[in-house]
Subunit: 143 residues, 2 copies
């Protein structure tokens, strides 16, 4: 049931930017503070930028910031935008003979919708309500 | 969000057995009808047996059958029993500095519980209600 690391790191980047709302944050800074690969983060940031979650500014003094208020960034949307597939089972990896008549698919779709609906109750703003606790944990390495 | 093939095939085996409730079904028969690996199915059947979902009888004329009525086999239980992990994100694959104070975990647990609760509305009996449609699709190769 694991979400991809792509989605995981996307949430971390968005939280980090929401926590540092007045700053120009660099990818290197996020990578160091979360101890994750900078190359991996670059791809994620690029995609988050294209999807309108964040703005990036190149060059010296450049960096990134959220493109919209954290209150309007929904966790369900982030998962749906970043996951490579929203399938729960690969009915057609090896073509399944009952795929066309299978009730399991319906059950899984209902369950997936419940999952996404529950995530939809949370925005990035909700996830950083404990800002005072989170900030010191993410300021080991500043830009 | 994909469940493992292990869980997928478990559901298929249980449905197959529920559809052939008076027969002694062999692993080879299920493998051929679903076009899946017999070796893979052997491991799954062994585990389903240990967990009390099915009974197996070795030797000539042997085979397997459900150990309990399909009405009492819940899809949520099968997923919980067969998935190697019920985690949604790997917070500690690379230790996350905010893991101890992270609200994302709470959101994910709520979402996972909704997912499992929705699956809990379905039993194996519900999944084979369209028995007349399913049977011809699974009888291409009989034992």
């Amino acid at each position: 049931m694991l979400l991809t690391r792509h989605t995981d790191y996307s949430v971390r980047v968005l939280m980090y930017l929401a926590l540092h709302d007045s700053d120009k944050v660099t990818i290197a800074e996020v990578a160091r503070n979360f101890t994750v690969s900078r190359n991996h983060l670059m791809k994620i940031v690029h995609r988050l930028g294209r999807l309108g979650y964040l703005n990036t500014q190149r060059g010296k003094g450049g960096g990134m910031s959220l493109a919209k208020p954290p209150e309007s960034i929904n966790l369900s949307d982030v998962v749906q935008d970043m996951e490579p597939t929203l399938a729960i089972m690969e009915c057609n990896a090896v073509p399944c003979p009952i795929a066309g008549s299978c009730a399991v698919k319906i059950a899984l779709l209902e369950a997936r919708d419940c999952f996404l609906q529950a995530l939809g109750h949370y925005t990035i703003a909700d996830l950083i309500k404990n800002k005072k606790q989170l900030l010191p944990l993410l300021e080991r390495f500043l830009a």
